[in-house]
């Protein structure tokens, strides 16, 4: 035996929920012994005391921009992976809009090599739908999947061409992967800097209407219905999109969706001071949209919480609001903000584990769970640890968080990947 996690509340949705000791050997789960909490271990065995803590399957963030290759001044694969494990994530999905983009097997392999040598979180590359993210053709899905890509997306540059989206859903079905859609009608969102509505009107900023997202969500759901392809909707931000997904699921369409912590925590009033760290795409919406996202997370309409971690330096952010880049970082605040939903009574803890571990794993087709024989990817969470968010303490290279100075309750204390402790919070 290499490691024993003793006395925590183990939450492995669908399999086990209760106090137990978890035994890990050679990178895998060796045994789960209910009750537990005491007993002698051999001197050579590392023991983690987890009483009062949650022991969950490793969290997976489906939507992360690691910026390497090409924009290493914002984030590298190594710094992003260190931020991930500090935030409790054992794995992240790397979006393809790098320079060059991940549109060929060489880039996919490069990402995996860098992740390997970083030795922190696992990285699951998501490859581009179209070469150069140009929306003009298909990348070699089969070759990319063989190299390690788990899904396809042109995130950041929505697929405006409906025929290309149809073909991508069909072709990805052959490669056994989902297509991740960043739903946006670029003509409706053109030049918008924030959510369209009374706040934008008062602030004199150009607005992005909800329909810029929901019209494309409707289109892509219809295309998923037509093709039988697996559709995953990125960063859902509007109540209309949540409604559309709810209906599609009731009709048996193979659609899944994620929501970002900033969208279930903040609303567009937060822009009032023209703070560029409140600028992201899709934008912060109204309180009604935020509440619809929370409801969708609670009732199963939305399957996953994903951060859309988007590092930018002061070069892109310390600017006039409408000129500043879209995006905020989220790896190191995602779990605490999700736990806030638990403390506020929106989610149960098992539901949180589903949203942040089981469902993300199922969407990209990777193993997840704490049953004997499974890879020992584990997140230990102290749900009551109070801390103040300070970007200066982040492992991420960038500082563009909208939550600076917030006091949050609950965070990861230990992150274990393949049986190895890759992050431990020093008390």
């Amino acid at each position: 035996m290499d490691l024993i996690i003793r006395g925590g509340r183990i939450i492995d949705p669908g399999h086990f929920d209760g106090e137990a000791d978890l035994y890990i050997n050679e990178g895998r789960i060796a045994a789960l012994k209910p009750g537990g909490g005491t007993g002698e271990a051999e001197k050579s065995v590392k023991v983690i005391a987890a009483r009062g803590k949650i022991v969950a399957p490793g969290l997976i963030d489906l939507h992360v921009h690691l910026r390497e290759p090409g924009e290493e001044y914002k984030e590298t694969i190594a710094s992003g992976c260190r931020a991930a494990v500090a935030g409790g994530f054992t794995a992240v999905c790397a979006m393809p809009n790098t320079h060059p983009p991940n549109d060929c097997a060489q880039v996919t392999e490069f990402i995996l090599e860098r992740a390997q040598s970083a030795g922190a979180a696992r990285v699951y590359p998501v490859a581009a739908i179209s070469p150069g993210l140009a929306g003009k053709g298909l990348t070699p899905f089969y070759e990319l999947a063989a190299a390690g890509a788990v899904a396809f997306t042109d995130d950041g540059l929505p697929v405006a061409n409906s025929l290309l989206m149809r073909r991508a859903l069909e072709y990805a079905r052959g490669a056994g992967c989902p297509v991740i859609a960043h739903c946006e009608d670029p003509l409706l969102s053109a030049d918008g800097a924030m959510n369209e509505g009374p706040t934008a009107t008062r602030l004199g900023l150009r607005g992005i209407p909800n329909v810029a997202e929901s019209a494309m969500v409707q289109r892509d759901i219809a295309l998923a219905g037509l093709t039988g392809g697996k559709l995953h909707l990125a960063h859902v931000s509007t109540r209309e999109a949540v409604d559309a997904i709810r209906i599609a699921k009731s009709q048996g369409v193979a659609v899944t969706a994620e929501a970002a912590p900033h969208h279930f925590t903040l609303d567009d009033e937060a822009v009032c001071d023209y703070d560029p760290n409140m600028k992201m795409y899709p934008p912060l919406r109204t309180a009604a949209d935020r509440d619809a996202i929370r409801q969708g997370l609670a009732d199963g309409t939305i399957d996953a919480i994903a951060s859309d971690h988007a590092p930018h330096s002061s070069i892109e952010k310390q600017l006039e609001f409408d000129l500043a880049a879209n995006g905020v970082i989220g790896l190191e605040t995602s779990l605490p903000l999700a736990l806030k939903l638990v403390h506020d009574g929106v989610l149960s803890l098992p539901r949180l584990v589903e949203l942040m571990a089981c469902h993300p794993a199922r969407i990209i087709g990777v193993p997840c769970g704490l049953q004997t024989g499974m890879p020992a990817d584990i997140t230990i969470i102290d749900p009551d640890a109070v801390f103040t968010v300070s970007a200066d303490n982040f492992r991420s290279q960038s500082r563009n968080t909208p939550f600076e100075g917030w006091t949050l309750k609950g965070r990861a204390t230990t992150t274990i990947v393949a049986g190895r402790v890759v992050f431990a919070l020093d008390d």
Partner: protein
């Protein structure tokens, strides 16, 4: 009377009705200076006023320039063409460079909403917003308030009708806020494509037709319409705009007998306003320009500690 509580003049929303009254009263005193044979007082001698114009403007810039000169302040202006903005320097860099020269007041016009607020966060000098994107143009609203108060003797209870592209207009936004603070009622009118979503939440009434709205107005403010709007499908052409939303003599017959016609300029004669209306007895467009200098003198004086 106490002085100004505000270091910066960023928008009408951050001024109270008492602030506005003090600014207008001070502007009346300043206007008197402009009527003297020697239009200069030494009040701000030794003070430095820097103007940054990231958007073209002749009238606002020269108005501020005259205001500074009449109070004996040194004034210096940069416009986008002559400043480092064309070299890709960020706003923050530019401001920090200017700050190093210790100006007392920075006046900024910028195409981005919130740019003056950004500046105010990052510099020691007083910042006066001379127009930021579609957001605010407080000095315009103040000169409009001054003009109406001067002509009508009051602001409370008046009905202001603003006509045109409300969505893209900082003049409309600042006047909506300013006139309401002073107890006036505001109605807006224009093609639905130019009505921003949620405008009712700023407390205004939206009138679908100019013909219906015109009779109830004490003051009509016509906004400049921009040709580029056709490309964004906001209107078919200027001919139709003039026919439906333009202020011409025929339409003016429906207005009250002592109505005031205002325009922030520059005008498109024959589009939003017919020449006979612009030059007619109800128009106070040139008084607006005169009062603009007085209001800007008052603001420079007040932000620099005058009472």
């Amino acid at each position: 009377m106490g002085g100004m509580r505000h270091k910066h003049i960023l928008d009408m929303a951050s001024l109270s009705d008492a602030d506005i009254r003090m600014i207008l009263d001070t502007a009346v005193r300043m206007k008197e200076i402009s009527r003297r044979p020697i239009k200069k007082v030494p009040t701000l001698r030794g003070k430095t006023v820097v103007q940054f114009f990231y958007e073209p403007s002749t009238r606002t810039k020269s108005s501020f320039d005259l205001a500074a000169k009449r109070l004996s302040a040194d004034s210096l202006s940069f416009s986008k063409a002559t400043s480092s903005a064309v070299k890709g320097e960020t706003l923050l860099d530019t401001v920090q460079n200017i700050e190093a020269m210790q100006p007392d007041v920075i006046i900024i016009r910028h195409g981005s909403a919130g740019a003056p607020h950004f500046l105010a966060h990052h510099c020691e000098a007083s910042v006066i917003n001379a127009g930021d994107g579609m957001h605010a143009h407080p000095t315009q609203a103040l000169l409009d308030l001054m003009t109406v108060r001067e002509k009508m003797g009051r602001l409370r209870g008046l009905d202001l009708l603003i006509v045109g592209d409300i969505a893209h207009s900082r003049v409309a936004r600042s006047n909506i806020v300013g006139f309401q603070k002073m107890g006036a009622h505001v109605t807006v009118c224009g093609p639905p494509t130019m009505m921003p979503i949620g405008i009712e939440q700023m407390g205004v009434k939206v009138a679908p037709s100019l013909d219906d709205a015109i009779g109830g107005a004490d003051v009509i403010m016509m906004l400049r319409i921009q040709k580029e709007r056709q490309a964004q499908f906001l209107m078919p052409d200027e001919r139709e705009y003039a026919a439906v939303f333009g202020l011409n003599l025929e339409r003016l017959q429906k207005a009250s007998d002592d109505v005031l016609i205002m325009h922030p300029g520059p005008m498109n004669r024959g589009v939003e306003i017919a020449p006979e209306v612009a030059d007619g007895p109800y128009a106070v467009i040139l008084e607006q320009v005169t009062n603009g200098v007085a209001v800007r003198m008052a603001l420079l004086y007040l932000v620099l500690g005058g009472k």
